[in-house]
Subunit: 409 residues, 2 copies
């Protein structure tokens, strides 16, 4: 049987201590998240980009670079290889000749959180986990509850009352152990931390288990594969916990080490936040290595309402290393962008994804992005999960037999 | 430049009259829908299944067998090649060793209607259409409005007040011309018919333009390709207008003519309806060629609340020819199946899709499906578009600082 994964061990990016991946691990002793390391030299000998391209349309096509040893432990709903589409009409409006959407709404559960859930739950299953707990702004909890159900793992999910309504229904129909909290994700986090400490359940909080990043990094692999194993110039990412941007940066480094892409050519990574919750933007502006807790945070882009991310130092590092930036968008700007993307291009993106388009527009206006550069806006979820962001006023209501020509059109 | 499409002409399946596909066509003079014909002998020489497998993960991989001549007229959001996944836990519950889901929720707009919209709008664009109108139970209108926006076509959409709320928001954000009606899709159809007659707009009603079927038939191509160019034994399809089942049957016939699959081996096609709206089931039980208008129809599976389908005779023909059947499911059965699929397999399916699982269970119990047969349940949309089908009672609500161990778990 050929080797399915080339995972080697876990490593702390702060203190460099290493850990055994065959045991359950959470954070490093020093408090930092752990990163997964692979035997990349062996992967190089074992598989080529050409071979990967012939595999099925799922993120598991990169299985050598994912942490699960045994294929039978893979918990999949067919997630990954989401569309990367060129947006000519919107690009022309923004004066961007090569504007793309990476549409993560086209995935099971309608959110990119699914990538982390598929890989995280698969590894948890392999490690023999029977119960997990996590705080969530909604979409991650929904995804983890559904994949946990498939893996026979009990999932305790704590989400704010204000999280998108549909996500609590997803947890419920999956048979998850759902709890709401009259507060923010940081309050939910404290509840989960207490449960983890007292009851010894697996902590699936963002970055407190090392495998969610591995799922998210596949976005980086896919973007590069979809560009013919080249990196674009700019990738804009709506940043809450920041796992996606950390993952994409990790993917680029791995592909460079594998010799699959040009060495030292990075996409400039852009962390997009809402003005109502912009801790990374504040830290980046000051050139700091870590962010500060953002008080009284609020935004309709609920997934990025994260006042202080555990991996903030990794997010900021990826911005500095790739000569990227961080930018904050107003509610008005992101809602206008959401409408513009749908009415010009037909993509109904989520508010978080919309923020990246507003950011691309702004950065183009400021000259930070040049007209001919290849620019990827990462839409993290389907707009259909956020009905409340679209308001309809005064729609015509007909009675049977009415005519459209004589009614009030 | 190589030929993109091998479309030849349009043909009436009732009276065999042919029509020019380079002009706008709606129904046949005799009132029947028209079907698209291709030069299959030329396709055979031009492309192989092996070549198709190497193409990008979109329904446009079958472009030779789609009606659009010029690739630049293709209007795409990256739709198609949705997951086909084996469901072992649910299969074991149903005593089915080879139960599969074809998950059409994992597609732009979260519904299989997207296939018809992508192909239908692309051909409309090629034909120079500037305005279209259609009645809809929600999802088709949403998909057509979004693709029409991308194609710069004005879309007038008429949907019942009871259609899923999210679908009117999709039409609105796309900039569509939205009208609600206090009635059924059949009432909406009359309004549209009047507008078409009086104002000469393109009629995009189900089967009144010939190209929606072509989009839907790609489900048949994909299922066969995903089974390694073999047909499964049974395909269960939630049947409203029935375009999907007509399309899948057409795809099978085309692939047989192309020599891509075994001649004369058909999947048994099953039309699944709700007990509250079962005109096809009634007609099939009596061995009739057409259905009768189903009075006072009602079901929470809104997409299959179609009291009389224009293509009923084609649906029934496909059931008779493939030795399939038609079956009606109660509301209770389909809601129970929806819960069962999510909690065992992690797929949050729509109520229409859930009905096919309830049907598979019943037909297995009756012995109509055998244990070892390969069975495909076609889930036509994402459950997240139907929040009202999931009721949550008595969820625990915490205050910041509360503990899960001392709260009422």
């Amino acid at each position: 049987m050929t080797q399915f994964s080339f995972i080697s061990h876990l490593e702390c990016p702060k203190c460099n201590k290493t850990y055994d991946e065959k045991q359950i691990q959470q954070l490093c002793e020093c408090g930092s998240p752990l990163l997964v390391r692979y035997n990349l030299e062996d992967v190089k000998k074992h598989v080529t980009p050409e071979e990967i391209q012939r595999r099925s349309a799922s993120l598991w096509r990169y299985h050598e670079l994912l942490p699960v040893h045994n294929e039978k432990d893979v918990v999949t709903l067919g997630e990954g290889l989401t569309p990367l589409e060129k947006l000519d009409k919107l690009g022309s409006t923004y004066e961007l000749d090569n504007l793309y959407i990476k549409d993560e709404g086209i995935i099971p559960t309608g959110s990119f959180k699914t990538r982390g859930a598929s890989v995280g739950i698969s590894k948890a299953k392999e490690l023999g986990v029977k119960q997990l707990a996590m705080p969530t702004n909604g979409n991650a909890g929904a995804a983890w509850a559904l994949y946990a159900a498939k893996a026979n793992i009990k999932a305790t999910i704590v989400m704010p009352l204000d999280a998108p309504q549909i996500t609590r229904k997803e947890v419920h129909i999956a048979g998850g152990d759902l709890h709401l909290i009259n507060g923010l994700i940081s309050d939910a986090g404290k509840v989960v931390a207490q449960l983890v400490q007292d009851a010894g359940v697996y902590d699936a909080s963002t970055l407190k288990e090392p495998y969610r990043i591995e799922g998210k990094k596949t976005m980086g692999y896919e973007i590069v594969e979809q560009f013919g194993w080249k990196v674009p110039d700019v990738i804009l990412y709506p940043t809450g916990g920041g796992v996606g941007i950390i993952g994409i940066y990790k993917a680029i480094l791995e592909m460079q080490a594998l010799g699959w892409i040009e060495k030292d050519k990075f996409p400039r990574l852009v962390a997009v936040q809402a003005e109502g919750c912009a801790p990374i933007v504040d830290a980046w502006k000051k050139g700091e290595k870590e962010s500060k807790f953002f008080e009284d945070s609020t935004t309709c882009a609920f997934g990025i309402n994260v006042p202080k991310a555990l991996g903030d130092f990794l997010v900021l590092d990826s911005l500095y290393k790739t000569e990227g930036c961080a930018i904050a968008i107003s509610e008005q700007e992101l809602l206008a962008a959401q409408k513009e993307v749908a009415s010009l291009e037909g993509n109904f993106v989520c508010p978080e994804g919309a923020a990246t388009f507003a950011a691309a527009k702004k950065l183009r206006e400021q000259g930070w992005i040049k007209q001919e550069e290849h620019v990827v806006c990462l839409n993290t979820g389907a707009g259909i999960k956020y009905p409340e962001t679209v308001e309809i006023e005064g729609v015509n209501t007909l009675q049977p037999g009415d005519s459209l020509l004589t009614s009030k059109r």
